[in-house]
Amino acid sequence: MKRLSLTLAALLFMAASWTATAQETKPKREGVISGRVVADDGQPMGGAQVVAVGVGKSPVMGAAQMSSCDADGNFKVTGLSHGVYSIVARAPGYVSVQDQSRKYRIGESVIIRMARGGVITGRVTDEFGEPVVGVRVAADRVRDSEGKPGAGAATMNEMYSSRSTDDRGVYRIYGLEAGAYVVGVNVASPIFGGPGQTGREPPTYHPSSPRGAATEVNLRGAEEVAGVDIRARGGRGRSISGTVSGETQGDGFINGVAVTLYGAADKNLVGMTTQIGSQNFSLRGVDDGEYELTATRFNESMDLAISAPRRVVMKGADLNGIELKLLKLGSVSGRVVIEAPKAECETASDQFKVEEAMIEMKRDGRAPGVYAFGFFPMEAGGNLGGATPDKIGGFTVKNLEAGRYRVNTDLPDESWYIRAITQAATPKPIDVSRSGLTLKQGEKISGIEITIAQGAASLSGRVVPSREGAQLPKRLRVHLIPAEAAAADDLLRYAESPVRGDGAFEFKHIAPGKYLLSARQASEKDANDDQSRPLAWDAVERGKLRREAAAAKNEIELKVCERVKEHILRW
């Protein structure tokens, strides 16, 4: 077995990025994404590493490529096939300060900004005041620097957000993003499982509390917050155990099951255990309280099965014999069809590569299983719910929970827009763009056709207060509404753009035609929710928008391939 493990170890452990199978297409563009990593403090970022991960693909199985930066921070990720990628940079002690969810395509150039991370340090003592040596201390970010709650904020940088105490009981966690943290020992984590070193003790957060009563530590940037001491509470906590049943066998070769325990109210990760080859699970060191238990089955191709969250109440006694039933997840598959161009925009790039369209399924209501997906790296986790088509436009978005979805497409080129989204049916295809797609548990929907046409227009401009010197309200959004009565219910022709601090807004991939513009303040709930449905999806809101827009009379006609800039909209 030594030979086997050496081979496997060498091949699986050492390799950093993998290739897809050989293709026959001849890409005209070199498969390169290049750019530069720059640091806020001006330090050269030589040696920083940049990874490009393909959307919807398992990073283990072939969709991650990387590059190291030269002494000036320049990098070049090569060998990429046509597709859509997330780009992440890593440098010890630094954090990324830009939107990690932006997607890139080959031929693009990226500037990645990093800033020195913050530091939290302190001392851990036991209930007798003696230093606790060699225990892991984790900093869990509960809110980001803008005050937004970080669901799963712990998951991404978690590996770098925990350090062990030294012989004096002192720990130092560095490279942290700005935000509010709770800092604790014996804390559960996707990597280390737990809670606890021995899996027995419940977590203790600074200063000496269970999570609910923890004192938050605020990091405003590249600063050091010292004295974040923790006095371990000791004790044993209780255990939750049971079995995982249902869809335990997937198609993958390496099937594992992760069981996660979350606080019922605050949705914080409290415990996690990962098994390969066993259906029994056991979590220890759990305080009394109310929780949600979920099981996720995963494999090397990132095919998942999830159990419905199970509410459990821990009060004074171990919980045994809990059965979590894994349910199949659904998928949506279909084709992206390129309509023969009737018009060609000047700015159209050489060829539209259908592999560079990104298809996303956005679910109405609660964000799909963020908790379960927290196990996966953000590079891939952010890509779950998305897929890119193959060379002939076929795509499958998998791992979808039951619910109602709308189809989103991210197109690489300004000159394309979505003409129609339909589902094959008799006698006539269903217009999915209006009705959305409803997926039952484990249902596989196929025959979705997304038609893309050339000739898209784009519009950008600024919202300006009508009264000189007045302030623009927060959470402003600009809505683009089709002017023609016949298009009143054509959801593909509605669009929304957030308004930046300086009033700027932007629309791309717009079908040529007549439009009305309307500016509206979004509700606080909608503004904070990344998954929020476009307002126009709701028939009642749509009607309101149309009336408002008709009254405001902000008309604009967008011709084929037209690029309108500097359009002023008065508020």
Partner: protein
Amino acid sequence: MLRITRFQILLSITSLFIFSVANAQTPQQDSRPRTASVSGRVTVAGKPAVNVKVVVTEVKDRPAPGSQDFSMDLTGAGTGEDHVALTDAEGRYRVTNLPEGKYEAKVSMGGHIREKPSPNESLVESFSLDEGESRGNVDFALVRGGVITGRVTDADGRPLIARAVSLQGVDIQGGKTILRGSQNPMNLMMGLDGSQTDDRGVYRIFGLRAGRYLVSAGGESDVFTGGAGSYPRAWHPDAADENHAKVVEVTSGGEVTGVDIRLGAAKKTYEALGRVVDDETGKPIAGAGVMCIRVKAADESAAIDGIGFGGFGGNAKTDEQGNFRLAGLAPGQYQLNLFDQESFLTGGSNYYSDGSKFEIHGGDVAGVEIRAKSGVTISGVAVIEDADQSAKSSLSQTMLMAHSMPSSPPASPDEAGGIAGAFAMAPAASRIGIDGAFSLKGLRPGKVTIQAVSVTGGALKITRIERGGVEMTEGIVVTGREDIAGVRIVLGKGSGKIRGRVQVTGGALPDGWRMTVTARGGKNISSFDSSRSYYADVDGKGWFVIEDLLPGEYELMLSVQPEINPNSPPQPVQNMPAPVTQKVVVTKGQEAQVTVTLDLSKKNREEK
């Protein structure tokens, strides 16, 4: 290095499952009588250690790989029950109401070490309890460990973050022994290792035995620098080699500060450009994956070596002209091969390559060529013997791997051994379809041996390989270019058992050493058919059990090793008894009994 995502870590841990298996158990009804107890004393420098936690855990035997109950708990949350005791004013602890079994007592005194150096440097004592036994004197005589701390900076005085710091122990004669350092890549990656610098470039190594040390940083295999560039190894304070390094003297429990290391200029890295072409047609191959490893570093200071692996050079994919680009390569000798991870798990590539070598001196290299050769495909059907239906689902969880041994000897010792060799001879893998179909592609000429691998339980083993009704006992010989179809692979679960006892004569085995029995054989004692090798620990009373064996003759090998503590220095091993071998025949469904005698009085001992 790519900060490997946790899923990849998961996968890599999976691949090492042979060596690190824990058996997660749900708390089950345990009706064993709980009448045993254990007690002992914890002292620090001879004085009682008060209010110190001692955790006593029952240790379940590791199931042998390939056994039915195989499972892996990655989070390490479970072995058996934990019992926590606190030491009293005299440093004494006691745990009662224990069932009989094997146990480990661990004292929570990080930063401390055993007063006397011993093979067992860990703060863990292993012992076993009989029903009703009162075991005493499970003591821990400790002293505070020494500390070395300092800062690592580059040539311009800037702190270097997340760098590994290594220690070398200097023995009295002035010779050198490699001690621990940041050599455990997993610990290093996860920041668990105390000897990694923080954001100020500061490191702190604690728990050291008094003595003299050399302290160094840099020179890591490029893989493990975590995105921070590569530097040649340098010793405190700023020496480029060991001869000019300043010796650091650590007293018992003492702290030495200011042990700073100033690294020289960052290693300059270079590029290699090359092509993959079809060996026969000369046409370039687009989208082919290549993987490159460094077999020899120019400065001979690669942290991982001795097995022909001087670092990971990276990998790349070819563009439509069949060209690839590898960047960030430090000077040294490299080996390049075709490699495609995705297909390793999903299907396989028809190509193989013999590996190309290139060398980087002080500049970029161009024109490296890999000739992709069309390999042979071995295909057929895999079935389960005796039509054991319960095992049918296990077929889909079983992967077949084919290893090729070339018919002619390797061109050089470099190509033969270690990771470089394994890498060049990367196995072909095939899943087994629902209908039992398999297809092993891209095999090079030579003798092919096939083994069955599975991650989850129900481990099936190959009992027969047939072609055209003829049993292939020595593997399948691949010649020329013809595919080999119609191969029938019969798999089965072993049902034979070996139950044995080790008798130690001529002395007693010292504390802190354990015995392991490895069984090799079955139908073919073939050094390549490694699916035929199993092992088991010998328990406190000398018993061992190896299960799920296929019938045949096995060679048992009893070996003795010191307890391994990954965090402490490997002690020089003296007077270790030589392994003992014995043959035993296993038949289907039967338990073979055997006694192995370990005679400690024998003169032929291994010395290191």
